[in-house]
Assembly symmetry: C2
Homo-oligomer: 212 residues x 2
């Protein structure tokens, strides 16, 4: 697979969208698709689709289009979805529990091994079969149980501390749901999810239906 | 405010990011900021920032930059954040409850008036002070209680039906968390949140730290 130089994060962020479309196409029995048909399906222009996929080596053939199964497999491989990822969640409130149940039902390649919290009435309990441990024990836990992804579902005020502890414990990436942009420090990637951004875009379109 | 023609959804999706940066700047007492400084803060190029904000009339002045408070107020106005929005949530499981508590703590301009579910053991209960009603009563409820935004936190299989009922009940917009792309039909905007897309981008960067 061809990967020269830095690929813009906009391209990377479109890959999961291609993957979902290809999964749906495969489920519905579609074997091949042109960039034009893919464009109608997901709304990016056909030329953008060809350009995006060219970053990773052209999977398409002129006059044939893309083989759905092969392209899906290639994008999955590029993203790194073929392997298992162990996760811990810091913050065991409603959002932490929702993310825990989302992950457990989403894919067997992602597995939450422990929840963490500071609240004494939560510590020691289980949620969806996952034990809630004391946040004070997080670093020790991570040293004894190498973990790929740390999920942050605490308040804005507690998020940086949770992030520091997760990084000190050696996680490879941070998935942050606290309403604050945690910064990439060194080479540990941080993915910030801002629910309010989606809500604000929606509100814009509610107020500007002519822009839809 | 200058709004000529259709503004690309990429621009609209960047506005909430500007808003968050400006809120943080205002909290920290910053009164004005150049597009260059804003660029360092949020990672878009200074030229993109100037171009984006030009869509809505240039708020900046050469040699001065942007007035933080004014620009924040203008973007809030463009998005339509000055008014109140009533919301209902269809699906009262962990995710529905998490979104309910997110909204109630997020802003007093967004208010969840009712949860809905099909599960008899949930109907009639309260979560964070909000009553769970029978999904069968959704359309009637919406007719008697005009609602701005319908939130969908049910399964992939139930999402389209929930969406149809919300639209039949006359909501102005749909915020969908089910793992499926619900389509805009007519002029009702739909905002799909795909948590797996974020997770997949994170996994890419974990596997390609040289791309960070």
């Amino acid at each position: 697979m061809k990967q020269e130089g830095k690929i813009s994060s906009a391209v990377i962020r479109r890959l999961p969208r291609y993957l979902r479309a290809l999964e749906d196409l495969e489920s519905s029995g579609t074997e091949r698709i042109s960039s034009g048909e893919l464009s109608k399906l997901i709304g990016y222009t056909a030329s953008q689709i060809r350009q995006d996929l060219n970053h990773f080596g052209g999977f398409g053939q002129q006059g044939y289009g893309y083989n759905v199964k092969d392209l899906k497999a290639e994008i999955g491989k590029i993203l790194g979805l073929g392997q298992k990822y162990k996760m811990v969640i810091v913050g065991s409130g409603r959002l932490g529990q929702a993310i825990n149940s989302f992950i457990s039902s989403y894919s067997e390649n992602f597995c939450v091994t422990s929840l963490f919290d500071v609240k004494e009435d939560l510590i020691g309990k289980e949620k969806s079969g996952v034990l809630i441990r004391d946040f004070a024990d997080l670093e020790d836990y991570l040293k004894n149980n190498p973990t790929d992804i740390g999920v942050i579902t605490v308040t804005k005020e507690s998020a940086q501390n949770a992030c520091d502890k997760l990084m000190a414990g050696g996680v490879d990436g941070i998935w942050n749901f606290a309403p604050i942009d945690l910064e990439n420090t060194g080479s540990t990637p941080v993915e910030n999810v801002h629910l309010s951004d989606n809500l604000h875009s929606l509100v814009y379109y509610i107020n500007h239906p002519e822009q839809i």
